[in-house]
Protein backbone atom coordinates (compact mmCIF):
# COMPACT_ATOMS: atom_id res chain seq x y z
CA UNK A 1 0.00 0.00 0.00
CA UNK A 2 3.02 2.20 0.30
CA UNK A 3 2.92 2.24 -3.48
CA UNK A 4 -0.32 4.23 -3.39
CA UNK A 5 0.90 6.49 -0.63
CA UNK A 6 4.11 7.11 -2.52
CA UNK A 7 2.25 7.77 -5.75
CA UNK A 8 0.44 10.68 -4.17
CA UNK A 9 3.76 12.35 -3.61
CA UNK A 10 5.43 11.51 -6.88
CA UNK A 11 4.31 12.76 -10.23
CA UNK A 12 6.63 10.39 -12.09
CA UNK A 13 4.93 7.38 -10.57
CA UNK A 14 1.47 8.76 -11.38
CA UNK A 15 2.45 9.41 -14.98
CA UNK A 16 3.91 5.93 -15.35
CA UNK A 17 0.84 4.27 -13.87
CA UNK A 18 -1.46 6.38 -16.08
CA UNK A 19 0.47 5.44 -19.22
CA UNK A 20 0.44 1.76 -18.30
CA UNK A 21 -3.26 1.94 -17.46
CA UNK A 22 -3.97 3.47 -20.86
CA UNK A 23 -1.96 0.83 -22.74
CA UNK A 24 -3.44 -2.12 -20.87
CA UNK A 25 -6.94 -0.63 -20.99
CA UNK A 26 -6.76 -0.10 -24.76
CA UNK A 27 -5.62 -3.69 -25.23
CA UNK A 28 -8.40 -5.03 -23.00
CA UNK A 29 -11.01 -3.00 -24.90
CA UNK A 30 -9.66 -4.21 -28.26
CA UNK A 31 -13.03 -5.56 -29.39
CA UNK A 32 -14.67 -2.17 -28.87
CA UNK A 33 -11.93 0.21 -29.96
CA UNK A 34 -11.16 -1.56 -33.24
CA UNK A 35 -13.81 -1.45 -35.98
CA UNK A 36 -13.11 -5.00 -37.28
CA UNK A 37 -12.07 -8.43 -36.08
CA UNK A 38 -8.32 -9.11 -36.21
CA UNK A 39 -8.71 -12.14 -38.51
CA UNK A 40 -11.23 -10.53 -40.86
CA UNK A 41 -9.70 -10.37 -44.34
CA UNK A 42 -10.48 -7.99 -47.18
CA UNK A 43 -8.64 -9.21 -50.26
CA UNK A 44 -9.62 -6.07 -52.18
CA UNK A 45 -7.41 -3.92 -49.99
CA UNK A 46 -4.03 -5.48 -49.28
CA UNK A 47 -1.53 -3.04 -47.77
CA UNK A 48 -4.05 -0.18 -47.78
CA UNK A 49 -2.45 2.95 -46.32
CA UNK A 50 -4.04 4.49 -43.20
CA UNK A 51 -7.38 6.06 -44.09
CA UNK A 52 -10.66 5.03 -45.69
CA UNK A 53 -10.38 2.44 -48.46
CA UNK A 54 -12.91 1.60 -51.18
CA UNK A 55 -14.87 4.82 -50.82
CA UNK A 56 -15.79 5.06 -54.48
CA UNK A 57 -18.76 7.38 -54.91
CA UNK A 58 -18.10 8.98 -51.49
CA UNK A 59 -18.45 10.65 -49.09
CA UNK A 60 -17.90 8.09 -46.37
CA UNK A 61 -18.50 9.75 -43.01
CA UNK A 62 -17.10 8.12 -39.87
CA UNK A 63 -19.93 7.00 -37.57
CA UNK A 64 -19.33 6.86 -33.80
CA UNK A 65 -20.71 4.31 -31.31
CA UNK A 66 -22.20 1.90 -33.82
CA UNK A 67 -23.05 -1.80 -33.85
CA UNK A 68 -21.39 -3.98 -36.48
CA UNK A 69 -23.11 -6.66 -38.61
CA UNK A 70 -22.93 -9.15 -35.74
CA UNK A 71 -24.45 -6.62 -33.35
CA UNK A 72 -21.31 -5.95 -31.32
CA UNK A 73 -20.68 -2.38 -30.17
CA UNK A 74 -17.80 -0.59 -31.90
CA UNK A 75 -16.36 2.83 -31.16
CA UNK A 76 -16.42 3.88 -34.80
CA UNK A 77 -16.96 2.53 -38.32
CA UNK A 78 -17.70 3.60 -41.88
CA UNK A 79 -20.58 2.21 -43.94
CA UNK A 80 -19.81 -0.88 -46.05
CA UNK A 81 -18.49 -1.50 -48.65
CA UNK A 82 -15.93 1.14 -47.68
CA UNK A 83 -13.48 0.15 -44.92
CA UNK A 84 -11.68 2.33 -42.44
CA UNK A 85 -8.08 1.39 -41.75
CA UNK A 86 -6.81 3.82 -39.11
CA UNK A 87 -3.37 2.19 -39.09
CA UNK A 88 -3.52 0.70 -42.58
CA UNK A 89 -4.02 -2.94 -43.53
CA UNK A 90 -1.70 -5.92 -43.97
CA UNK A 91 -1.09 -8.29 -46.89
CA UNK A 92 -4.53 -9.92 -46.48
CA UNK A 93 -6.37 -6.63 -45.99
CA UNK A 94 -6.71 -7.21 -42.26
CA UNK A 95 -7.12 -4.12 -40.10
CA UNK A 96 -3.79 -3.23 -38.50
CA UNK A 97 -5.49 -1.40 -35.60
CA UNK A 98 -7.51 -4.50 -34.71
CA UNK A 99 -4.44 -6.71 -35.00
CA UNK A 100 -2.33 -4.27 -33.02
CA UNK A 101 -4.82 -4.20 -30.13
CA UNK A 102 -5.54 -7.93 -30.12
CA UNK A 103 -1.87 -8.71 -30.68
CA UNK A 104 -1.07 -6.48 -27.72
CA UNK A 105 -3.20 -8.78 -25.56
CA UNK A 106 -1.05 -11.72 -26.55
CA UNK A 107 2.28 -9.93 -26.20
CA UNK A 108 1.44 -8.22 -22.90
CA UNK A 109 -0.15 -11.35 -21.45
CA UNK A 110 2.94 -13.35 -22.34
CA UNK A 111 5.16 -10.71 -20.72
CA UNK A 112 3.08 -10.49 -17.55
CA UNK A 113 2.67 -14.26 -17.15
CA UNK A 114 6.34 -14.88 -17.75
CA UNK A 115 7.36 -12.16 -15.31
CA UNK A 116 5.03 -13.62 -12.67
CA UNK A 117 6.54 -17.07 -13.23
CA UNK A 118 10.16 -15.86 -13.16
CA UNK A 119 9.53 -13.79 -10.07
CA UNK A 120 7.65 -16.58 -8.30
CA UNK A 121 10.35 -19.15 -9.02
CA UNK A 122 13.12 -16.70 -8.26
CA UNK A 123 11.51 -15.55 -5.04
CA UNK A 124 11.07 -19.10 -3.73
CA UNK A 125 14.54 -20.23 -4.84
CA UNK A 126 16.20 -17.07 -3.52
CA UNK A 127 14.40 -17.15 -0.18
CA UNK A 128 15.11 -20.86 0.35
CA UNK A 129 18.74 -20.56 -0.71
CA UNK A 130 19.40 -17.47 1.38
CA UNK A 131 17.53 -18.56 4.50
CA UNK A 132 18.42 -22.22 4.55
CA UNK A 133 22.01 -21.86 3.35
CA UNK A 134 24.27 -24.92 3.25
CA UNK A 135 24.23 -27.39 0.38
CA UNK A 136 20.83 -26.24 -0.89
CA UNK A 137 22.18 -22.71 -1.27
CA UNK A 138 25.25 -24.04 -3.04
CA UNK A 139 23.24 -26.17 -5.46
CA UNK A 140 20.72 -23.46 -6.30
CA UNK A 141 23.34 -20.78 -6.81
CA UNK A 142 25.54 -23.04 -8.97
CA UNK A 143 22.48 -23.82 -11.09
CA UNK A 144 21.66 -20.13 -11.41
CA UNK A 145 25.23 -19.49 -12.52
CA UNK A 146 24.73 -21.75 -15.52
CA UNK A 147 21.68 -19.75 -16.45
CA UNK A 148 23.40 -16.38 -16.25
CA UNK A 149 26.47 -17.73 -18.08
CA UNK A 150 24.55 -17.48 -21.35
CA UNK A 151 23.59 -14.24 -23.10
CA UNK A 152 19.87 -13.82 -22.44
CA UNK A 153 18.54 -14.39 -25.95
CA UNK A 154 20.81 -17.39 -26.54
CA UNK A 155 19.51 -18.87 -23.29
CA UNK A 156 15.95 -18.23 -24.38
CA UNK A 157 16.58 -19.90 -27.73
CA UNK A 158 18.30 -22.84 -26.09
CA UNK A 159 15.26 -23.42 -23.89
CA UNK A 160 12.98 -22.90 -26.89
CA UNK A 161 14.93 -25.46 -28.91
CA UNK A 162 13.90 -28.41 -26.77
CA UNK A 163 10.19 -27.77 -27.07
CA UNK A 164 7.95 -28.70 -29.98
CA UNK A 165 7.97 -26.25 -32.90
CA UNK A 166 4.42 -26.59 -34.17
CA UNK A 167 1.98 -25.76 -31.42
CA UNK A 168 -1.57 -24.43 -31.77
CA UNK A 169 -1.66 -20.66 -31.08
CA UNK A 170 -3.67 -20.97 -27.85
CA UNK A 171 -1.16 -23.25 -26.18
CA UNK A 172 1.70 -21.36 -27.83
CA UNK A 173 1.01 -18.34 -25.64
CA UNK A 174 1.26 -20.38 -22.45
CA UNK A 175 4.25 -22.30 -23.77
CA UNK A 176 6.11 -19.11 -24.68
CA UNK A 177 5.31 -17.52 -21.32
CA UNK A 178 6.57 -20.67 -19.57
CA UNK A 179 9.79 -20.69 -21.62
CA UNK A 180 10.54 -17.05 -20.96
CA UNK A 181 9.64 -17.35 -17.30
CA UNK A 182 11.78 -20.45 -16.81
CA UNK A 183 14.76 -18.99 -18.65
CA UNK A 184 14.70 -15.90 -16.42
CA UNK A 185 14.43 -17.30 -12.88
CA UNK A 186 18.11 -16.91 -12.04
CA UNK A 187 18.47 -13.15 -11.77
CA UNK A 188 15.56 -12.50 -9.37
CA UNK A 189 16.65 -15.54 -7.35
CA UNK A 190 20.15 -14.13 -6.89
CA UNK A 191 18.83 -10.69 -5.94
CA UNK A 192 16.28 -12.03 -3.44
CA UNK A 193 18.92 -14.32 -1.93
CA UNK A 194 21.18 -11.33 -1.34
CA UNK A 195 18.45 -9.45 0.51
CA UNK A 196 17.47 -12.53 2.56
CA UNK A 197 21.09 -13.15 3.52
CA UNK A 198 21.43 -9.69 5.03
CA UNK A 199 17.90 -9.66 6.48
CA UNK A 200 18.27 -12.87 8.44
CA UNK A 201 21.24 -11.49 10.37
CA UNK A 202 19.34 -8.42 11.57
CA UNK A 203 19.01 -8.00 15.34
CA UNK A 204 15.25 -8.37 15.45
CA UNK A 205 15.38 -11.60 13.45
CA UNK A 206 17.91 -13.01 15.89
CA UNK A 207 15.72 -11.80 18.75
CA UNK A 208 12.65 -13.47 17.23
CA UNK A 209 14.62 -16.66 16.87
CA UNK A 210 15.69 -16.36 20.49
CA UNK A 211 12.03 -16.14 21.50
CA UNK A 212 11.49 -19.43 19.74
CA UNK A 213 9.69 -18.20 16.59
CA UNK A 214 9.29 -20.84 13.89
CA UNK A 215 11.22 -20.55 10.61
CA UNK A 216 7.96 -20.02 8.77
CA UNK A 217 7.02 -17.17 11.09
CA UNK A 218 10.42 -15.49 10.77
CA UNK A 219 10.35 -15.77 6.98
CA UNK A 220 6.83 -14.46 6.64
CA UNK A 221 6.96 -11.75 9.26
CA UNK A 222 10.53 -10.50 9.21
CA UNK A 223 12.50 -11.66 6.19
CA UNK A 224 10.23 -11.76 3.15
CA UNK A 225 8.76 -8.26 3.66
CA UNK A 226 12.31 -6.99 3.17
CA UNK A 227 12.40 -8.50 -0.31
CA UNK A 228 9.20 -6.83 -1.54
CA UNK A 229 11.03 -3.74 -2.77
CA UNK A 230 13.56 -5.72 -4.81
CA UNK A 231 10.83 -7.97 -6.17
CA UNK A 232 8.66 -5.03 -7.28
CA UNK A 233 11.58 -3.33 -9.00
CA UNK A 234 12.47 -6.59 -10.72
CA UNK A 235 8.86 -7.05 -11.84
CA UNK A 236 8.77 -3.60 -13.43
CA UNK A 237 12.04 -4.32 -15.23
CA UNK A 238 11.18 -7.87 -16.28
CA UNK A 239 7.78 -7.21 -17.88
CA UNK A 240 9.04 -5.05 -20.79
CA UNK A 241 12.03 -7.34 -21.29
CA UNK A 242 9.71 -10.34 -21.50
CA UNK A 243 7.25 -8.59 -23.80
CA UNK A 244 10.20 -8.00 -26.10
CA UNK A 245 11.20 -11.66 -25.69
CA UNK A 246 7.77 -12.81 -26.86
CA UNK A 247 7.88 -10.36 -29.75
CA UNK A 248 11.34 -11.59 -30.72
CA UNK A 249 10.35 -15.27 -30.64
CA UNK A 250 7.17 -14.68 -32.63
CA UNK A 251 9.05 -12.41 -35.05
CA UNK A 252 11.40 -15.31 -35.82
CA UNK A 253 8.58 -17.84 -36.16
CA UNK A 254 9.40 -19.57 -32.87
CA UNK A 255 6.53 -18.11 -30.88
CA UNK A 256 2.84 -17.46 -31.35
CA UNK A 257 1.85 -18.16 -34.96
CA UNK A 258 -0.77 -17.01 -37.41
CA UNK A 259 -3.72 -16.50 -37.56
CA UNK A 260 -3.53 -15.23 -33.97
CA UNK A 261 -1.99 -11.77 -33.95
CA UNK A 262 0.99 -10.89 -31.78
CA UNK A 263 3.24 -7.87 -32.14
CA UNK A 264 6.03 -10.24 -33.08
CA UNK A 265 4.35 -12.13 -35.91
CA UNK A 266 2.93 -8.84 -37.24
CA UNK A 267 6.47 -7.50 -37.52
CA UNK A 268 7.53 -10.65 -39.37
CA UNK A 269 6.03 -9.13 -42.55
CA UNK A 270 8.96 -6.67 -42.52
CA UNK A 271 11.33 -9.50 -43.39
CA UNK A 272 10.17 -8.93 -46.97
CA UNK A 273 12.12 -6.24 -48.71
CA UNK A 274 9.20 -4.60 -50.50
CA UNK A 275 7.24 -4.28 -47.26
CA UNK A 276 10.19 -2.58 -45.63
CA UNK A 277 10.50 -0.16 -48.52
CA UNK A 278 6.88 0.68 -49.23
CA UNK A 279 4.58 0.09 -46.25
CA UNK A 280 5.82 2.08 -43.28
CA UNK A 281 2.71 1.34 -41.18
CA UNK A 282 3.78 -2.29 -40.87
CA UNK A 283 6.40 -1.19 -38.33
CA UNK A 284 3.75 0.18 -35.93
CA UNK A 285 3.56 -2.98 -33.77
CA UNK A 286 7.19 -2.30 -32.93
CA UNK A 287 6.39 1.31 -32.10
CA UNK A 288 3.62 0.04 -29.80
CA UNK A 289 6.33 -1.42 -27.57
CA UNK A 290 7.70 2.06 -26.84
CA UNK A 291 4.91 3.16 -24.43
CA UNK A 292 5.11 -0.26 -22.75
CA UNK A 293 8.85 0.15 -22.21
CA UNK A 294 8.50 3.79 -21.19
CA UNK A 295 5.73 2.99 -18.70
CA UNK A 296 7.38 0.04 -17.01
CA UNK A 297 10.87 1.54 -16.95
CA UNK A 298 9.64 4.79 -15.38
CA UNK A 299 7.60 2.69 -12.95
CA UNK A 300 10.79 0.86 -11.99
CA UNK A 301 12.59 4.18 -11.58
CA UNK A 302 9.79 5.59 -9.43
CA UNK A 303 9.67 2.43 -7.30
CA UNK A 304 13.41 2.62 -6.68
CA UNK A 305 13.07 6.28 -5.68
CA UNK A 306 10.18 5.59 -3.29
CA UNK A 307 12.07 2.67 -1.80
CA UNK A 308 14.99 4.97 -1.11
CA UNK A 309 12.74 7.60 0.43
CA UNK A 310 10.85 5.26 2.77
CA UNK A 311 13.79 2.97 3.37
CA UNK A 312 12.37 -0.30 2.06
Amino acid sequence: MWLIRASVRRRGLVAALALLGAVHGAVLLAGFLAPYDPAEQDRRHPYAPPGVAGCEPGPCPVRWFVRDAAGRPRLFAVDAPARIFVLGSDQYGRDQLARLLHGGRVSLAAGLLAAALSLGLGWIAGAVAGYRGGWLDAVLMRASEFFVALPWLYLLFAVRAFLPLEVPPETALLLIAAIIGLAGWARPARLVRGVVLSAKERGYVLAARGFGASHFHILRRHVLPQTVGVALTQAALLVPQYVLAEVTLSFLGLGVGEPVASWGNMLAALAQYHVLVSYWWMVLPGVAMVPVFLGYLSLAGAVIESRDSIGL
Binding site: F146, P151, F157, A158, R160, L270, V283, V287, F293
Partner: protein, 314 residues
Protein backbone atom coordinates in the same frame (compact mmCIF):
# COMPACT_ATOMS: atom_id res chain seq x y z
CA UNK B 1 48.94 -16.53 -10.25
CA UNK B 2 46.73 -18.88 -8.21
CA UNK B 3 43.99 -16.28 -8.57
CA UNK B 4 43.93 -16.55 -12.35
CA UNK B 5 44.00 -20.35 -12.19
CA UNK B 6 41.06 -20.33 -9.82
CA UNK B 7 39.11 -18.04 -12.15
CA UNK B 8 39.92 -20.21 -15.16
CA UNK B 9 38.86 -23.36 -13.31
CA UNK B 10 35.62 -21.69 -12.38
CA UNK B 11 35.02 -20.64 -15.98
CA UNK B 12 35.66 -24.20 -17.13
CA UNK B 13 33.23 -25.52 -14.53
CA UNK B 14 30.51 -23.13 -15.66
CA UNK B 15 31.11 -24.09 -19.28
CA UNK B 16 30.91 -27.77 -18.36
CA UNK B 17 27.62 -27.16 -16.56
CA UNK B 18 26.17 -25.25 -19.49
CA UNK B 19 27.14 -28.00 -21.94
CA UNK B 20 25.61 -30.73 -19.74
CA UNK B 21 22.45 -28.66 -19.35
CA UNK B 22 22.08 -28.04 -23.08
CA UNK B 23 22.58 -31.75 -23.80
CA UNK B 24 20.04 -32.72 -21.19
CA UNK B 25 17.56 -30.18 -22.56
CA UNK B 26 17.95 -31.35 -26.13
CA UNK B 27 17.52 -34.94 -25.02
CA UNK B 28 14.02 -33.89 -23.96
CA UNK B 29 13.32 -32.33 -27.35
CA UNK B 30 10.66 -34.13 -29.34
CA UNK B 31 12.30 -35.36 -32.51
CA UNK B 32 15.41 -34.26 -34.36
CA UNK B 33 16.40 -33.70 -37.96
CA UNK B 34 16.57 -37.44 -38.61
CA UNK B 35 13.11 -38.17 -37.26
CA UNK B 36 11.74 -35.68 -39.81
CA UNK B 37 13.81 -37.44 -42.45
CA UNK B 38 12.09 -40.73 -41.56
CA UNK B 39 8.80 -39.22 -42.71
CA UNK B 40 10.19 -38.86 -46.22
CA UNK B 41 9.07 -41.98 -48.16
CA UNK B 42 12.03 -41.70 -50.54
CA UNK B 43 14.52 -42.38 -47.76
CA UNK B 44 14.81 -45.95 -46.57
CA UNK B 45 14.42 -46.46 -42.81
CA UNK B 46 17.74 -48.35 -42.86
CA UNK B 47 19.50 -45.25 -44.15
CA UNK B 48 18.14 -43.14 -41.31
CA UNK B 49 19.02 -45.83 -38.77
CA UNK B 50 22.53 -46.04 -40.18
CA UNK B 51 22.96 -42.25 -39.95
CA UNK B 52 21.68 -42.35 -36.40
CA UNK B 53 24.15 -45.04 -35.44
CA UNK B 54 27.02 -43.31 -37.25
CA UNK B 55 26.57 -40.09 -35.28
CA UNK B 56 25.85 -41.92 -32.04
CA UNK B 57 22.33 -40.59 -31.72
CA UNK B 58 21.01 -44.02 -30.73
CA UNK B 59 23.23 -44.06 -27.64
CA UNK B 60 22.06 -43.09 -24.14
CA UNK B 61 22.68 -39.51 -23.01
CA UNK B 62 25.90 -39.99 -20.98
CA UNK B 63 27.55 -41.90 -23.83
CA UNK B 64 26.41 -39.28 -26.32
CA UNK B 65 27.78 -36.53 -24.14
CA UNK B 66 31.09 -38.29 -23.57
CA UNK B 67 31.50 -38.87 -27.30
CA UNK B 68 30.70 -35.25 -28.02
CA UNK B 69 33.23 -33.95 -25.46
CA UNK B 70 35.89 -36.31 -26.79
CA UNK B 71 35.36 -35.19 -30.36
CA UNK B 72 35.00 -31.51 -29.39
CA UNK B 73 38.43 -31.74 -27.76
CA UNK B 74 39.77 -32.70 -31.21
CA UNK B 75 38.00 -29.73 -32.78
CA UNK B 76 35.16 -31.81 -34.22
CA UNK B 77 31.88 -30.21 -33.20
CA UNK B 78 29.47 -32.82 -34.50
CA UNK B 79 27.57 -32.97 -37.75
CA UNK B 80 25.10 -30.56 -39.30
CA UNK B 81 22.34 -32.64 -40.84
CA UNK B 82 20.66 -29.65 -42.44
CA UNK B 83 23.85 -28.57 -44.25
CA UNK B 84 25.11 -32.17 -44.59
CA UNK B 85 28.60 -31.15 -43.51
CA UNK B 86 30.68 -31.27 -40.33
CA UNK B 87 29.43 -28.55 -38.01
CA UNK B 88 32.83 -27.18 -37.00
CA UNK B 89 33.77 -25.09 -40.08
CA UNK B 90 30.21 -23.79 -40.30
CA UNK B 91 30.03 -22.73 -36.67
CA UNK B 92 33.57 -21.35 -36.57
CA UNK B 93 32.92 -18.97 -39.47
CA UNK B 94 29.66 -17.80 -37.99
CA UNK B 95 31.16 -17.42 -34.52
CA UNK B 96 34.00 -15.35 -35.99
CA UNK B 97 31.52 -13.05 -37.71
CA UNK B 98 29.56 -12.61 -34.48
CA UNK B 99 32.79 -11.90 -32.64
CA UNK B 100 33.82 -9.25 -35.21
CA UNK B 101 30.46 -7.53 -34.90
CA UNK B 102 30.23 -7.68 -31.11
CA UNK B 103 33.80 -6.57 -30.52
CA UNK B 104 33.36 -3.61 -32.83
CA UNK B 105 30.10 -2.72 -31.09
CA UNK B 106 31.59 -3.08 -27.60
CA UNK B 107 34.55 -0.92 -28.54
CA UNK B 108 32.40 1.75 -30.19
CA UNK B 109 29.87 1.79 -27.34
CA UNK B 110 32.54 2.33 -24.69
CA UNK B 111 34.47 4.86 -26.77
CA UNK B 112 31.30 6.93 -26.98
CA UNK B 113 29.99 6.25 -23.48
CA UNK B 114 33.10 7.29 -21.55
CA UNK B 115 33.56 10.83 -22.93
CA UNK B 116 29.80 11.39 -22.91
CA UNK B 117 29.47 10.20 -19.32
CA UNK B 118 32.45 12.32 -18.23
CA UNK B 119 30.97 15.36 -19.93
CA UNK B 120 27.56 14.88 -18.26
CA UNK B 121 29.21 14.28 -14.89
CA UNK B 122 31.31 17.42 -15.21
CA UNK B 123 28.21 19.47 -16.07
CA UNK B 124 25.93 17.92 -13.44
CA UNK B 125 22.56 19.65 -13.53
CA UNK B 126 23.50 21.77 -16.53
CA UNK B 127 21.57 21.88 -19.78
CA UNK B 128 23.78 19.28 -21.49
CA UNK B 129 23.34 16.86 -18.61
CA UNK B 130 19.59 17.28 -18.52
CA UNK B 131 19.17 17.07 -22.29
CA UNK B 132 21.43 14.01 -22.32
CA UNK B 133 19.43 12.33 -19.58
CA UNK B 134 16.18 12.95 -21.45
CA UNK B 135 17.66 11.66 -24.70
CA UNK B 136 18.97 8.53 -23.04
CA UNK B 137 15.62 7.91 -21.31
CA UNK B 138 13.94 8.12 -24.71
CA UNK B 139 16.54 5.82 -26.26
CA UNK B 140 16.20 3.20 -23.53
CA UNK B 141 12.46 2.99 -24.26
CA UNK B 142 13.09 1.91 -27.85
CA UNK B 143 13.52 -1.87 -27.95
CA UNK B 144 16.49 -3.29 -29.93
CA UNK B 145 14.18 -4.94 -32.43
CA UNK B 146 12.49 -1.66 -33.32
CA UNK B 147 15.83 0.14 -33.44
CA UNK B 148 17.20 -2.42 -35.88
CA UNK B 149 14.08 -2.35 -38.04
CA UNK B 150 14.03 1.45 -38.18
CA UNK B 151 17.72 1.63 -39.11
CA UNK B 152 17.19 -0.99 -41.79
CA UNK B 153 14.19 0.91 -43.09
CA UNK B 154 16.32 4.03 -43.25
CA UNK B 155 19.02 2.17 -45.15
CA UNK B 156 16.76 0.63 -47.78
CA UNK B 157 14.89 3.87 -48.33
CA UNK B 158 17.86 6.16 -48.68
CA UNK B 159 20.12 3.50 -50.20
CA UNK B 160 22.91 5.26 -48.34
CA UNK B 161 24.18 2.09 -46.74
CA UNK B 162 24.17 -1.59 -47.68
CA UNK B 163 21.13 -3.22 -46.10
CA UNK B 164 22.34 -6.57 -44.90
CA UNK B 165 25.05 -9.14 -45.39
CA UNK B 166 28.73 -8.81 -44.65
CA UNK B 167 30.30 -8.25 -48.06
CA UNK B 168 29.13 -7.13 -51.46
CA UNK B 169 29.41 -10.22 -53.69
CA UNK B 170 32.75 -10.18 -55.48
CA UNK B 171 34.34 -7.78 -53.04
CA UNK B 172 36.17 -8.51 -49.83
CA UNK B 173 37.83 -5.23 -48.94
CA UNK B 174 38.02 -3.81 -45.46
CA UNK B 175 36.09 -0.72 -46.56
CA UNK B 176 33.29 -2.86 -47.89
CA UNK B 177 33.18 -4.72 -44.57
CA UNK B 178 33.10 -1.45 -42.66
CA UNK B 179 30.21 -0.15 -44.76
CA UNK B 180 28.25 -3.33 -44.06
CA UNK B 181 29.08 -3.20 -40.38
CA UNK B 182 28.00 0.38 -39.86
CA UNK B 183 24.29 -0.37 -39.60
CA UNK B 184 24.36 -3.38 -37.24
CA UNK B 185 27.02 -1.72 -35.08
CA UNK B 186 24.90 1.43 -34.90
CA UNK B 187 21.87 -0.60 -33.79
CA UNK B 188 23.92 -2.37 -31.10
CA UNK B 189 25.62 0.80 -29.87
CA UNK B 190 22.40 2.79 -29.65
CA UNK B 191 20.82 -0.04 -27.70
CA UNK B 192 23.69 -0.35 -25.21
CA UNK B 193 24.57 3.32 -24.85
CA UNK B 194 21.93 4.52 -22.32
CA UNK B 195 22.96 2.02 -19.63
CA UNK B 196 26.67 2.61 -20.16
CA UNK B 197 26.50 6.41 -20.18
CA UNK B 198 24.33 6.47 -17.06
CA UNK B 199 26.75 4.29 -15.16
CA UNK B 200 29.81 6.25 -16.28
CA UNK B 201 28.10 9.48 -15.30
CA UNK B 202 27.00 8.15 -11.90
CA UNK B 203 30.40 6.65 -11.06
CA UNK B 204 32.33 9.76 -12.09
CA UNK B 205 29.85 12.13 -10.47
CA UNK B 206 30.33 10.30 -7.17
CA UNK B 207 34.13 10.52 -7.38
CA UNK B 208 33.97 14.20 -8.22
CA UNK B 209 32.58 14.77 -4.69
CA UNK B 210 35.67 13.18 -3.12
CA UNK B 211 38.11 15.37 -1.14
CA UNK B 212 41.10 14.42 -3.31
CA UNK B 213 39.35 15.94 -6.33
CA UNK B 214 38.82 19.14 -4.36
CA UNK B 215 42.50 19.09 -3.49
CA UNK B 216 43.51 18.48 -7.10
CA UNK B 217 41.26 21.31 -8.23
CA UNK B 218 42.83 23.58 -5.61
CA UNK B 219 46.23 22.73 -7.06
CA UNK B 220 45.01 24.26 -10.30
CA UNK B 221 44.83 21.08 -12.37
CA UNK B 222 42.77 21.82 -15.49
CA UNK B 223 39.30 20.26 -15.66
CA UNK B 224 39.95 17.95 -18.59
CA UNK B 225 43.04 16.47 -16.95
CA UNK B 226 41.15 16.28 -13.67
CA UNK B 227 38.39 14.25 -15.31
CA UNK B 228 40.52 11.88 -17.36
CA UNK B 229 43.53 11.39 -15.11
CA UNK B 230 42.06 11.69 -11.61
CA UNK B 231 38.31 11.06 -11.60
CA UNK B 232 38.03 8.34 -14.25
CA UNK B 233 40.66 5.94 -12.82
CA UNK B 234 39.14 6.33 -9.36
CA UNK B 235 35.70 5.59 -10.74
CA UNK B 236 36.88 2.70 -12.89
CA UNK B 237 36.06 -0.27 -10.65
CA UNK B 238 32.28 -0.50 -11.10
CA UNK B 239 32.74 0.38 -14.77
CA UNK B 240 35.09 -2.54 -15.35
CA UNK B 241 32.50 -4.87 -13.83
CA UNK B 242 29.95 -3.26 -16.10
CA UNK B 243 32.21 -4.05 -19.05
CA UNK B 244 31.74 -7.77 -18.44
CA UNK B 245 28.02 -7.26 -18.19
CA UNK B 246 27.92 -5.18 -21.38
CA UNK B 247 29.53 -8.03 -23.33
CA UNK B 248 26.57 -10.22 -22.41
CA UNK B 249 24.03 -7.56 -23.32
CA UNK B 250 25.67 -6.88 -26.66
CA UNK B 251 25.97 -10.58 -27.53
CA UNK B 252 22.30 -11.04 -26.78
CA UNK B 253 21.26 -7.98 -28.78
CA UNK B 254 23.58 -9.05 -31.57
CA UNK B 255 21.61 -12.29 -32.05
CA UNK B 256 18.54 -10.27 -32.96
CA UNK B 257 20.35 -7.59 -34.95
CA UNK B 258 22.15 -10.26 -36.96
CA UNK B 259 18.87 -11.87 -37.94
CA UNK B 260 17.21 -8.57 -38.85
CA UNK B 261 20.19 -7.28 -40.85
CA UNK B 262 21.12 -10.71 -42.25
CA UNK B 263 24.61 -10.58 -40.79
CA UNK B 264 26.02 -14.10 -41.25
CA UNK B 265 26.73 -14.70 -37.56
CA UNK B 266 25.65 -17.19 -34.94
CA UNK B 267 22.18 -15.64 -34.60
CA UNK B 268 20.71 -16.60 -37.99
CA UNK B 269 22.49 -19.97 -37.82
CA UNK B 270 20.95 -20.72 -34.43
CA UNK B 271 17.44 -19.77 -35.56
CA UNK B 272 17.77 -21.93 -38.70
CA UNK B 273 19.15 -24.82 -36.69
CA UNK B 274 16.29 -24.67 -34.19
CA UNK B 275 13.73 -24.61 -36.99
CA UNK B 276 15.43 -27.56 -38.71
CA UNK B 277 16.03 -29.44 -35.42
CA UNK B 278 19.72 -29.51 -36.29
CA UNK B 279 20.81 -30.70 -32.86
CA UNK B 280 24.58 -30.35 -32.85
CA UNK B 281 24.53 -26.91 -34.41
CA UNK B 282 22.13 -25.66 -31.73
CA UNK B 283 24.42 -26.93 -28.97
CA UNK B 284 27.53 -25.52 -30.66
CA UNK B 285 25.94 -22.12 -31.20
CA UNK B 286 24.75 -21.87 -27.60
CA UNK B 287 28.12 -22.99 -26.25
CA UNK B 288 30.01 -20.50 -28.39
CA UNK B 289 27.88 -17.71 -26.98
CA UNK B 290 28.67 -18.98 -23.47
CA UNK B 291 32.40 -19.05 -24.27
CA UNK B 292 32.27 -15.45 -25.52
CA UNK B 293 30.39 -14.25 -22.47
CA UNK B 294 32.64 -16.10 -20.03
CA UNK B 295 35.70 -14.74 -21.86
CA UNK B 296 34.27 -11.24 -21.58
CA UNK B 297 33.71 -11.62 -17.86
CA UNK B 298 37.17 -13.11 -17.43
CA UNK B 299 38.67 -10.15 -19.26
CA UNK B 300 36.77 -7.82 -16.96
CA UNK B 301 38.12 -9.70 -13.94
CA UNK B 302 41.68 -9.49 -15.23
CA UNK B 303 41.29 -5.76 -15.91
CA UNK B 304 39.96 -5.30 -12.40
CA UNK B 305 42.89 -7.26 -11.02
CA UNK B 306 45.31 -5.03 -12.88
CA UNK B 307 43.49 -1.82 -12.00
CA UNK B 308 42.84 -2.39 -8.33
CA UNK B 309 45.53 -3.79 -6.00
CA UNK B 310 42.95 -4.36 -3.25
CA UNK B 311 41.41 -7.26 -5.19
CA UNK B 312 44.71 -9.16 -5.24
CA UNK B 313 44.70 -9.84 -1.53
CA UNK B 314 41.45 -11.79 -1.55
Amino acid sequence: MPWLIRRLAHAALVLFGVSVLSFAFLELAPGDYLSEMRLDPRIAPETVAALRARHGLDQPLPVKYARWVASAARGDLGFSFAYNTPAAPLVWTRARNTLVLTMAATLAAWLIAIPLGLWFAARRGGWADRAGAAGLAALVSIPDLLLALLLLMFAVRTRALPAGGMFTPGEAGILDLAAHMLLPVAALVLGALPVLVRHVRAAVAETLQAPFIEAARAHGIPTVRLLWRHALPAAANPLISLFGFSVGTLLSASLLVEVVMSWPGLGPLLVEAILARDLFVVIDGVLFSAVFLIAGNLLADVLLYVADPRIRTT
